[in-house]
Symmetry: D3
Subunit: 139 residues, 6 copies
């Protein structure tokens, strides 16, 4: 159940068609997942979000593709975004994440959830050595 | 300003001393950061948290140390845990994260924050192909 | 699947009936949505929540009704509350929010999700000029 | 650094004075903590919030005072609200929470943070036996 | 729809069998809920999470069982973890939480959600008397 | 205390200078707030974030400037992002938000925080009439 209507024949809009064609070409499949189908209700928003995701997640950058997807999954878990968890877990797998790496990702994320809650409850002062503006601390 | 008192002479407690000695040995430094100093108010909780963090973050596992710390930072940002963001950003740097990789980590995390909010607002149905229980989808 | 039981014949309780009658009168419809039907399991909680929502959201105040509902949607998205996102998106529409305004709301909310994550990751000191207690800064 | 100005002589406003007098009487001290001093910028909002908190937290109800404050701390930790964590940790102590109970509260909250993240990452279907609407399951 | 596959015949793995046997013995029922069935995809993670939960939640400690489960529910609500909310609400009921206590728990949690958001919006300075490190304040 | 170093003489980089000049021209002031000063550590990220914020928040669109800033504040409160709350509260004021409107914004946001927590705790099924894909429901 969505808060927006699925558009009939979304590719009748040329801006939508450009985005969908790019998605198909990049992924080598005709399948367009629901995120993009629903976002077609507003072609400008579709373009904006697609270009943002494409430039960070599907372009060669410093961090390898698999790691980028695993970081994305980690944030999505902390934000309780089910669609994002599912689509980026699938993307991480397609980029090579094994079952064991998935288990380890979940181990790290849940460990972080534990210490994040503990530290928020303690409100311990941050050590001065973690201050990047004090360059002496990080020679 | 913390919600617990800093313990005077924490290493008088032998359980605390064991943990602090392990931290010093593993890191090759005498510096003990505030998290462990404050946690010494309850030696059992100190042991529990230290052993959990040690086993996941300072032991050779499938995912390399730098990546593990970057995933930890990502979760901590989404949870607004300032102590955790600072200490794990410093840990990621000590494990080799460059300024450029830090910038890219922040780019991915903030991109995920954007699409997480968008997707939660749209509540789009998760595609069946993301269902791991349907093994046909993931040959 | 709820954590409380739906009450049979909730309006047998006079406190529930008063609330439901007010909801119907205010909205000009007989339809009572699930939130109120389920909350009837505890008439005191039902009254409390209804009166709070009614006083803020269905009473003429400084901020117009459509804007109030859009602000409510924004918070609900950030909190991952699916029922709230759905019911307040519908309320915003019934108060006049167009498809284009909905798209713009989602654009702002997701932009805020992005910079919120970036700023939490950077932990930049808040500028003194934003301190309301220093009245010189806000002449 | 606050987003609102601290009011000079807030008790010049009779609505503020009534609230502050009630706080002093209930607590048996002249000290008014910052939350109420700052909220005095809007007497209607001050009244609303005070009456809500008073009715739940300072009135004899089913759950004892100490437990109520500990539950309040737990939610505040998960929401990263530093003021709330500090004031309700202090309130829990004044209601009898010992250092050991505080440590145990933090242990439970951080354990929940861990499994919450794990479960959000797994998205496991909720078992039918947890459905309260199916009364057979809960005889 | 989960992000991991349900394991066929999970108890073929002896580490899984040990955990499942312990769960059955402790609860006095043969029913194993989905969390543990799905976690069996990684026996080490299953053991780790089970032992953590068991030691805190099913062992006699300072805080009684019912209260511990109610605190767990509170955190899970703030983190939007539906599986956790359902399973720990059921556990709290099995530990004696009545319908009225459930309603009061929800009242406290939602009150905390309200003041958490208000305080985060105001960013009021935390009073010095809440600083545990200043022992004079807490004689 | 930030996780990145403040750049010395950031406008020596021509990409930074272009962004800073645009900020000054748009706002009619020489003051550059900390967000942009710190982001100068990575000119590409600075450009990306500035252009995103500029296009949504400082360009004439369907929703008026004051309302857009109030929506931004609402999301930032729910995400516990202190820098964002401060800078966008100041922006909303500069766009005309009065003290009374600020109080009302906080009233709505905290009300939403309350019902978001309540609804997440109840997990009530979303009514079919809120499904935008069923066009009959929204004639």
């Amino acid at each position: 159940m969505s808060t927006v209507k699925l558009t009939d024949n979304p590719e009748a809009d040329p801006r939508v068609k450009v985005v969908f064609d790019e998605i198909r070409a990049l992924r080598g499949t005709d399948y367009i997942n629901n995120l993009w189908l629903y976002l077609a209700f507003d072609p400008a928003l579709l373009e904006e979000i697609w270009q943002g995701v494409r430039d960070v997640m599907t372009t060669e950058t410093l961090i390898d593709f698999k790691t980028k997807e695993m970081i994305y999954v980690a944030v999505s878990i902390a934000n309780s975004c089910q669609y994002c968890i599912h689509s980026h877990t699938a993307a991480a797998r397609s980029r090579g994440m094994s079952d064991d790496e998935h288990a380890e990702l979940l181990r790290i994320v849940s460990m972080a959830g534990r210490t994040n809650h503990l530290l928020n409850g303690l409100n311990i002062p941050v050590d001065d050595i973690y201050d990047m503006e004090n360059s002496e601390n990080h020679p």
